[in-house]
Symmetry: C2
Subunit: 257 residues, 2 copies
């Protein structure tokens, strides 16, 4: 659970990836012009644009690279109508051209971890031993909560005593922590998705006001899958933004200490 050597030293690798220059103003314009749009026109979003935005979503960072997210692009018209209803038929959903259900998976880390290890073994990429050891040993220890969460409770006790004297990573040690963990990573990707739509000339609205139980049933989602948010998308209608952006004074939220 504690310091693995991947945390303590930079591995010696024959790899370099240079950071390209970005047109900063263009990027700022993307962030600034992204508003929650609640009314869309009839103009469709080309399939390849939607797919590109979804692929860009997957480039967000993901906790331990376990990719605990799923994006259900609901195209089937009967399912789409149902989904609109389950989003309370709010205009952001009912006028949308496309709807994506963004799902946080608390239960796929094991499967994905095994796939990562198998990819490592079958590739010719240079994988530091510390990285292999992280996926082989630390991941199963860190994310497993055990039957009824009992292993989580055990970990909490061990962490509590270890933590009295030593710096110790604390989470996840409960199902609630696992939910937080999965939703957090999924939300990072959701933001990529919304900004990507904006960058392609389209807009979006993230919705949490929805019947998650009915949506789960519609998508046949298992118990460990949770709806993080539904993102609607389309071309902004003239009445799509309900007013100037309202944010409280940023001094409330940015603390320089």
């Amino acid at each position: 659970m504690s310091k693995s050597s991947i945390f303590s030293t930079i591995p010696k690798l024959n790899y370099e990836e240079n950071a390209p220059d970005i047109n900063t103003k263009e990027f700022i314009k993307t962030i600034q012009s992204r508003r929650s749009v609640r009314s869309f026109t009839d103009e469709p979003i080309p399939e390849d644009v939607m797919m590109s935005c979804l692929e860009l979503a997957l480039l967000a960072p993901t906790s331990s690279n376990l990719q605990c997210w799923e994006f259900y692009w609901v195209k089937d018209s009967s399912k789409k109508e149902k989904l609109k209803k389950y989003c309370l038929s709010q205009p952001a959903a009912s006028t949308a051209q496309e709807l994506v259900v963004c799902v946080a998976r608390t239960d796929t880390w094991k499967k994905n971890n095994e796939q990562i290890l198998s990819d490592f073994e079958n590739s010719d990429r240079e994988v530091p031993r510390a990285v292999l050891s992280y996926y082989r040993k630390i991941v199963p220890l860190a994310y497993n909560q055990g039957f009824l969460g009992l292993f989580g409770i055990f970990k909490r006790i061990v962490i509590f005593f270890r933590g009295v004297k030593k710096v110790t990573p604390r989470e996840p040690t409960s199902f609630s922590d696992m939910r937080v963990w999965a939703h957090k990573t999924t939300a990072l990707a959701c933001q990529n998705l919304m900004l990507s739509l904006r960058a392609y000339g389209y807009d979006s609205c993230p919705m949490e006001g929805m019947d998650s139980k009915r949506i789960k049933k519609l998508l046949h989602l298992p118990k460990g899958a949770q709806v993080c948010m539904v993102i609607s998308a389309g071309k902004r209608a003239s009445n799509g933004v309900y007013g100037k952006r309202l944010r409280l004074n940023s001094k409330r939220f940015i603390k320089v200490i």
Copy 2:
């Protein structure tokens, strides 16, 4: 808890905000070149760049606009050294020029809601009655979980029965839901922060492997505040990226149905 008129009709407003065109390629380059960088050079990040990135973070969408986030930019050198230790002294932290603790607040929604209402009352902006009613009636009902979460349990029962026949929003009805809610919104802003740093020519690493208990103590955070992630930032060192981006096949995560 259910349909408020803001969910059912588009308010008639004298407001229009046009969406500017974005250089899509430039944006894609930003997302694609953002990697988790674990080794930074000695080059400092100018103060105004950091502040601009933090301000851009706050332009992410936030659930019910309740802005349940906080960003602690730790500049004080003694606190910064401690924070690096609490991030397990991993190179991504120890070589970083700047560190930001991104905090999810489950407890500020009431205060922020009151401020939003007061801002509405004192401004000359046109606020639809349905919006006012949302902040006056729906928000207190939706986010309050009551003493020991008892009101949450009551809501769950009501929602269960109402939900048998009617489409019904389900969450949040527990402290666990409130955690998910706050972390989700905070993560959206975290992604803005990391992409903004990239767009300004800098890089970042989101860290969850850290001693959240010690960090909370260091920042004097109350019980309702939780560390979402620590984001380190700086100029990418030549050995800063540990290898090609590893993502499992996107078909695992993008489901077209």
